[in-house]
C-alpha cells in the first residue's frame, strides 16, 4: 500500500535524482523505496528459560499445585481462557488477541535429549540442530542463504540489538544487528573508508570478510535509513527496551522495507529465585509490547503478511526448588501471533504432568516442526534445505 507520504517522498527522490545523477543511480534510488508487501517473520526471544507452566497455567490440575506449593498460581489469579489452561495475569494485554483468533499457543515444544545449559540450548534453538550436533550457522541465516540472491544485503535479517545472534548467521548471508540506525549512518559516511572499501582484492582470508562487511554495511545503512525516515507510528508503546525495538521494527515493516526476518529479545527469565513477581513483570512487558506492535502493523496494513514467534531456550522444572523458583527444565510453549492464522488458541494438548521424566516435561512437538511450518507454509522457503531434513508441519498457517 502506497500512502501519500511515501508517494511524495518517492516523487521527490526521483525528481531530484533524475536531474543530478547518472541513470544507473536513479534506478537504484527508485528501487530503494519500493514497497515490500511480502512475508515477514518477527522472532521474539525470551532469554534465560521462561517458565512455560506459569505462563500458560494448568489451573485445574492438582499435580501442578502439589509440585508447586510455593509458586503455583492460584486459579483466581489466572486468566481462564480455556477449560484446561489459563494465562498468567501478566499476559492480559494479549487476551484480546487470543479472543480475536490472532494468538496461537503450541504446548510441549522441545527436542530429544534436551540440554539444560542456557548457552547450549539457545544454540540448539537458534541453529536448529540435534542436541548432539554443533552447527556454526543459524536457521534464519540459512533461510537467508536459501531465499536471497547474492546481491541481497545484510538488512534482509535485522536484529534489534548490539550483537548479532547465531540465529541470523548463515553460510553465505549474515543478518545485521542495529541498535541505532542514525548513529551508524553518521559513522559510515567517511571519505577515506569509502575509498579504501573499493580497492581491496580478496585473498581468501579473514580480512576479506572485514572488507565485505564494510561494503555490505554501507549499502544496508543507506537503505534502512531511507526506510526509517518514511514512516512514523501513531501507536503508543510502553516504555521498555523490547517495546522500543518492536516499535522500530514496525516502522520498517510499515515503510515497506524488504527485510524478511526481524529479531528482538528480552532477558531476565532465569528465575531460580523468587520467581513469581519477576516473571509476572517480564510477561507484562512482553505482552504489552506485543499488543502495541500488533496494533501498529494492523494500522499499517501489514498484519496479514507478518507472523510473530515467541520462544525461550527451555522451560523450567515442574517441581519448584527450595528458593521459591525453578531450575532449568525441558519442554515449553511457543506463541505465534499474526492476522491470518488458520488455527488459533491452544493448538495441542496441555502438559502431561502424570508422565514426567525426572520431574521434567516430555516434549511432544519438535521445535523444528514449527520452523518447517513457518518456512514452507509462510515464508515459502524449502524447509528441507534449511533444516537438513523434512518435518511434519503444524496447522497454524
Amino acid at each position: 500500500m502506497t500512502n501519500r507520504r511515501t508517494f511524495l517522498k518517492k516523487s521527490a527522490v526521483i525528481a531530484s535524482s533524475t536531474i543530478l545523477m547518472p541513470r544507473f543511480l536513479t534506478a537504484a534510488e527508485e528501487n530503494m523505496i519500493s514497497d515490500y508487501q511480502g512475508k515477514k517473520l518477527v522472532v521474539v526471544q525470551l532469554n534465560g528459560g521462561n517458565d512455560g507452566l506459569n505462563t500458560f497455567i494448568p489451573y485445574r490440575n492438582d499435580i501442578y499445585y502439589q509440585m508447586r506449593p510455593g509458586i503455583g498460581i492460584d486459579p483466581g489469579q489466572v486468566i481462564q481462557v480455556s477449560d484446561e489452561l489459563g494465562m498468567n495475569a501478566g499476559l492480559s494485554a494479549l487476551q484480546p488477541l487470543y479472543d480475536n483468533g490472532e494468538l496461537a499457543i503450541i504446548n510441549n515444544v522441545g527436542y530429544p535429549n534436551p540440554d539444560r545449559s542456557h548457552f547450549r540450548s539457545m544454540d540448539i534453538w537458534q541453529s536448529a540442530s540435534d542436541s548432539n550436533v554443533y552447527l556454526k550457522t543459524g536457521w534464519l541465516g540459512r533461510m537467508l542463504d536459501a531465499c536471497c540472491s547474492p546481491q541481497a544485503g545484510p538488512y534482509f535479517g535485522l536484529e534489534s540489538s548490539e550483537m548479532l545472534s547465531l540465529a541470523l548467521k548463515g553460510n553465505r548471508m549474515k543478518g545485521m544487528a542495529i541498535e541505532d540506525i542514525n548513529r551508524l549512518n553518521r559513522f559510515i559516511k567517511d571519505p577515506f573508508l569509502n575509498d579504501i572499501s573499493t580497492v581491496h582484492y580478496n585473498q581468501g582470508d579473514t580480512l576479506d570478510y572485514l572488507y565485505k562487511t564494510l561494503n555490505d554495511t554501507k549499502r544496508s545503512v543507506a537503505y534502512l535509513k531511507e526506510k526509517a525516515d518514511l514512516y512514523k507510528s501513531s501507536i503508543t508503546y510502553p516504555e521498555n527496551e523490547l517495546a522500543n525495538n518492536l516499535s522500530g521494527i514496525a516502522q520498517l515493516i510499515n515503510a515497506g522495507a524488504e527485510t524478511k526476518v526481524y529479531y528482538a529479545s528480552i532477558s531476565g527469565f532465569d528465575t531460580h529465585v523468587n520467581q513469581v513477581i519477576q516473571q509476572n513483570n517480564l510477561l507484562g512487558k512482553v505482552s504489552q509490547s506485543l499488543a502495541a506492535f500488533i496494533e501498529d502493523l494492523r494500522k499499517g496494513g501489514q498484519l496479514d503478511s507478518t507472523l510473530v514467534m515467541v520462544f525461550s531456550e527451555f522451560g523450567r522444572r515442574v517441581k519448584e526448588n527450595g528458593s521459591m523458583g525453578t531450575d532449568h527444565g525441558t519442554a515449553n510453549n511457543v506463541m505465534i501471533l499474526g492476522g491470518k492464522l488458520k488455527k488459533s488458541g491452544f493448538l495441542n494438548e496441555g502438559p502431561d504432568l502424570m508422565n514426567l521424566d525426572n520431574d521434567d516435561l516430555n516434549y511432544s512437538i519438535d521445535f523444528r516442526r514449527i520452523y518447517a511450518t513457518l518456512l514452507d507454509n509462510f515464508l515459502e522457503v524449502d524447509s528441507k534445505a534449511v533444516l537438513g531434513r523434512s518435518y511434519e508441519k503444524l496447522a497454524f498457517i
Binding site: E162, L207, T213, N321, S323
Partner: protein, 461 residues
C-alpha cells in the same frame, strides 16, 4: 631464537596489549627468549584493584527498596571506575602478561554481580592466581562469592539441590561438553551443597545444609565434598586438554593444531597445571612466530581499545564514554554476556561493530585535538562534534610524536604501516594513505596515523 620486528610486535600484542614504537626500537636485536623472560620478570607485584571498600558494599539485609536502589546505584558507579581502572592498567605496561591472563580467565570463569566489592574481590583473586596453578585458581574461583551467587550455589542445599554451578564447572570451566553425564552433574551438585558466602563476601561452608552422603562422580565413589570433586575433575587429562585448547585459541590461533595441542596439554598436565610454564612454552616456540599465526586474529574489543590507548597514548577522561565504547563494540569488562564467556574471532564483527572499530582511533584523536585546541570554528550545534567533545579523550601527542623524530621524512608512511599493521598491504591501499607532502610534519603524522588505523587490516593482530 632470532625475532623480526613483526615478531616482536606479535609477541607484545598477544602476551600483552601492544608495544610503543620506542620500546619496539629498544627490543630489536634481542632474542625471543630474552624478550619473554623480560615479560615474565615484570609480573610482580600484581596490580590489584582497590576502589571498592568492603564496608560500603555490605548488602542491605532487610533493606527497603530505596536502600537497595541506592546500593545498586553506588555499586554501578564503582563498577565503572573499576572497569576504567582495569582497562588503563592493561594499557599502561608493555607486555603485561598478568593483566592479559587475568583478562583471559575473566572470560573463562565468566560471572558477574551487582556488588562492586565482590566483583573487585573476584578480579583480584583471579589476578593473584592468573599465572600460578590452574587447580588453585579453579578452587579459589569456585569458592568466590560472585561465582557462588552467579551460579546459584547459595541456594544449593541437601534438601533442594541446585545444579547450576556443578553443571557449568564441568561444561565450561574444566572438561567441556560430552565428557561427563547428567548423572555426574546431579551427584557433583550434592557435593557442593552448603557452599556459600557471608555478608562480608567470605566463603562459608554450611554444614547443616551439606549432603554428607555417598556420591559417584566420573566413576569414583565416596563421601565427597566440593574440593574432592574438583580434584577428581583435575585428575582427568581432558581438563588439561580443554584448558590448553582454550589458551591456544586465545594466544595463538583459533584454528587449533591438534598435534601441538596434544603435546602442550600433556606437558601442562605433567607440570601439575603450571600456567606460567605453558605460556612460556608457547611464546618461545618457533611456530608461535610462523606467518600462519601472525596477524590472523581479530582483536577483541578490549584488546583493540587497550592496545590503541597504549600505542597512541590516548586516554578517555570521561569513563562513561570509555565503558560506552566497550558496550557498543560488544565487550564490557566485568559484564560477560553469559557464563560461557565472550564471543571470539569473526563473531565480533558485524555491520555495526565494524564501523565503530574502524573509526575508533580517529575519533579518539579528533576528540583529543578538539579538547586541546578548542578550535574556534567548532559548531556547537553539531552533534558529531559534541559527541567527540563528550568523549573527553586526551592524547599525549608530544610523547607519541617524539618517538618518530629519527624517522626520515619520506619514510613516515611506511614506518607507520609496518608498526601498526601485522600484515602487508597493496600499493593501491598504501597510495591512499599518502597525505600532502607540504603539510607540517605533525599534521602528516597525525593524518597518516588516523588513516592507517581506519584500515580493516588494523583490526587484526
Amino acid at each position: 631464537m632470532h625475532i623480526t620486528q613483526r615478531g616482536i610486535q606479535h609477541l607484545f600484542l598477544r602476551a600483552g596489549f601492544g608495544i610503543s614504537f620506542e620500546t619496539l626500537q629498544n627490543s630489536k636485536g634481542k632474542s625471543a627468549e630474552e624478550l619473554v623472560d623480560n615479560i615474565f620478570e615484570k609480573v610482580n607485584p600484581p596490580r590489584y584493584l582497590d576502589l571498592a571498600e568492603k564496608e560500603d558494599f555490605r548488602p542491605p539485609v532487610q533493606g527497603s527498596p530505596e536502600l537497595r536502589r541506592a546500593f545498586v546505584e553506588r555499586s554501578t558507579q564503582v563498577l565503572m571506575k573499576l572497569n576504567a581502572a582495569w582497562l588503563r592498567n592493561m594499557a599502561a605496561l608493555e607486555g603485561d602478561i598478568r593483566e592479559k591472563m587475568t583478562f583471559f580467565w575473566h572470560g573463562h570463569f565468566a560471572s558477574t554481580s551487582n556488588n562492586a566489592y565482590l566483583v573487585q574481590q573476584q578480579n583480584n583473586l583471579i589476578r593473584e592466581h592468573a599465572l600460578g596453578n590452574f587447580g588453585d585458581l579453579l578452587k579459589a574461583v569456585s569458592k568466590d562469592a560472585v561465582m557462588l551467587q552467579y551460579l546459584n550455589n547459595q541456594q544449593n542445599t541437601k534438601d533442594a539441590p541446585n545444579e547450576n554451578f556443578a553443571r557449568e564447572v564441568m561444561e565450561l570451566f574444566t572438561l567441556g561438553r560430552g565428557n561427563y553425564t547428567e548423572q555426574d552433574v546431579k551427584e557433583a551438585a550434592r557435593a557442593f551443597t552448603g557452599w556459600g558466602f557471608n555478608l562480608d563476601g567470605e566463603f562459608v561452608f554450611r554444614t547443616l545444609t551439606h549432603d554428607y552422603g555417598e556420591k559417584t562422580v566420573l566413576g569414583q565413589t565416596g563421601n565427597f565434598e566440593g574440593d574432592d570433586v574438583l580434584d577428581i575433575i583435575l585428575k582427568q587429562k581432558q581438563t588439561a586438554k580443554f584448558i590448553t585448547e582454550k589458551i591456544y585459541a586465545f594466544f595463538v590461533n583459533e584454528e587449533v593444531d591438534k598435534y601441538k595441542l596434544e603435546a602442550l596439554a600433556e606437558k601442562f598436565y605433567e607440570s601439575g597445571y603450571d600456567i606460567t610454564s605453558l605460556l612460556k612454552e608457547i611464546f618461545t616456540s618457533e611456530w608461535f612466530y610462523y606467518q600462519e599465526n601472525v596477524g590472523i586474529k581479530i582483536k577483541s574489543p578490549v584488546e583493540l581499545i587497550a592496545s590503541s590507548m597504549h600505542m597512541f597514548k590516548i586516554d578517555f577522561e570521561n569513563i562513561e564514554a570509555l565503558v560506552g565504547i566497550q558496550k557498543l563494540l560488544g565487550q564490557i569488562l566485568f559484564r560477560p554476556p553469559n557464563v560461557a564467556g565472550w564471543p571470539s574471532g569473526s563473531e565480533w564483527i558485524d555491520a555495526s561493530t565494524l564501523i565503530l572499530r574502524l573509526r575508533l582511533v580517529e575519533v579518539a584523536m579528533a576528540s583529543a585535538r578538539l579538547n586541546r585546541f578548542l578550535l574556534s570554528d567548532v559548531n556547537e550545534d553539531n552533534p558529531m562534534t559534541n559527541r567527540l567533545k563528550k568523549l573527553r579523550a586526551t592524547f599525549d601527542w608530544d610523547s607519541f610524536s617524539q618517538q618518530f623524530n629519527t624517522v626520515p621524512f619520506d619514510r613516515i608512511e611506511n614506518t607507520l604501516i609496518v608498526y601498526m599493521l601485522q600484515g602487508s598491504i597493496s600499493q593501491k591501499k598504501s597510495r591512499l594513505l599518502i597525505v600532502d607532502k607540504y603539510s607540517p610534519v605533525d599534521e602528516r603524522l597525525f593524518s597518516i596515523t588516523a588513516r592507517v588505523s581506519k584500515l580493516p587490516e588494523f583490526q587484526m593482530c
